[in-house]
């Protein structure tokens, strides 16, 4: 149970806030930190609000870094944050490939 009135404190700018964390979607550290201060307290909410981990790599590159940043901002241990749900397919699949699952007739 989380009371969202909890205040993660004042947003204090950091020198590396403009560093890109999610490379697929070009989301910076500062944007992630600001989203936490705007009330996005879970990795799922951060993902939905900013698109971190929603690009081609599906967060396989930035997932750990986003977790560290959000945990630090919320002042909680990183392993207490539930990971955002992994979604099928595991690797991006072209639409025509998915479409012809039933063989040539489906093509």
């Amino acid at each position: 149970m989380t009371d969202r009135t909890k205040d993660p404190g004042m947003f204090v700018p950091e020198p590396d806030d403009d560093r890109i964390i999610c490379r697929c979607e070009e989301i910076t550290k500062g944007e992630i930190r600001r989203a936490v201060h705007a009330g996005m307290f879970t990795l799922t909410e951060i993902r939905r609000f900013l698109r971190t981990g929603m690009g081609l790599c599906q967060g396989q590159t930035c997932g750990g870094m986003v977790r560290q940043i959000v945990a630090k901002e919320l002042q909680v241990p990183p392993d207490t944050l539930e990971p955002a749900t992994a979604r099928a397919p595991m690797r991006p699949v072209e639409m025509w490939v998915l479409a012809r699952e039933g063989g040539e007739e489906d093509a």
């Binding site: 929603m54 099928a88 991006p92 639409m95």
Partner: protein
Amino acid sequence: MHDYSDVIIIGGGIIGCAAAYYLRKKGLSVIVLEKSCHIGNGGSGRNGGGVRQSGRDVRELPLAMYAVKHMWPGLSEELGVDVEYCQEGNLRLGKTEEHLNILQGLTKKASSCGLDVRMLDGEEVRRMNPYLSGEVVGASFCPTDGHANPLKATLGYYMRARELGARFITGEEVRGIRKIKGKARQVVTKHNIYEGDKIILAAGYESRDIAATVGIDIPMSNVLIEALVTEAQPPMFAQMLGTAGADFYGHQTKHGSFVFGGESGFEQVNRDSGHMAVSSVTASCTCRGILRYIPKLARAKIVRTWAGYEDVCIDGVPVISPVEEAPGMILACAFTGHGFGIAPVTGYLLAQMAAGEKTSLDLSAFRYDRFRPVI
């Protein structure tokens, strides 16, 4: 008392978040209780983002028209979050004579309610959207329809309502509503008891079990449907698409990806694992549907698929209504898969209702006691 507020809202989806925002603007205190760890984790975070008037039941049309005219255009500015509202029209596509008949019927009905919808032939459709295949023989077009980003809109309402002082509590599962001296007043959760003068129940299908604790039932079912999204594509077209054959619906987002929804036909009998898993057949079926209309997308990569529940009402329109047997309780559920587009106006009207004001629109078509047996 610490856990008292003027209004308790059960459900932290877009309806609950929007109602909380408009209530805070009126100065009423609000507590929002959400069972999930995340805000907007039900249909609000999983729908296709349509902001449509065309194709709606005529009972629902005034709400959709009000939202499109008065709410969606200024929403990004109001919330301080880009909700990616794009008003470039909705094309409902047809491939057969039978489809065209369906479209003509819908168009006639909507026109009689004052909505600008018109029929286009195949050539006119392709002039508007050159990516559509030659199989498309006609379409209905509503120029004032569009789409928006449901994730940003839901979390945007949450963010602003929270900023204005609404108290949101996630991971707080509601067990029931308790009457005190004949009035719905307490909300009992796993951990706590909250008390409010008004209680808004906007918890999707799960509203049903909660309403049952004060003896109210809404005839609806819980249907698991699926959607998928492609990697970003170069800008192709801005309209929202649907089809008379219900093969798929979708649009290209501001980000460039296409979000599509589709059905396998097994939705009514899907095995429900309880955790919104996608089936093995729906994404493929949806892709087949899409490629017959938009063959250019064959090489676009699908990056994600997901599922979500629709709270499908027996008569196809929602319940937005005070409950006489439990004074103080207001129901907002059974949105039947088209709640997103009317969420801002629904939140606005719920706030009026909870504040004891006359609602800007007549909501009598959405009463909870309208359901009758066949004989």
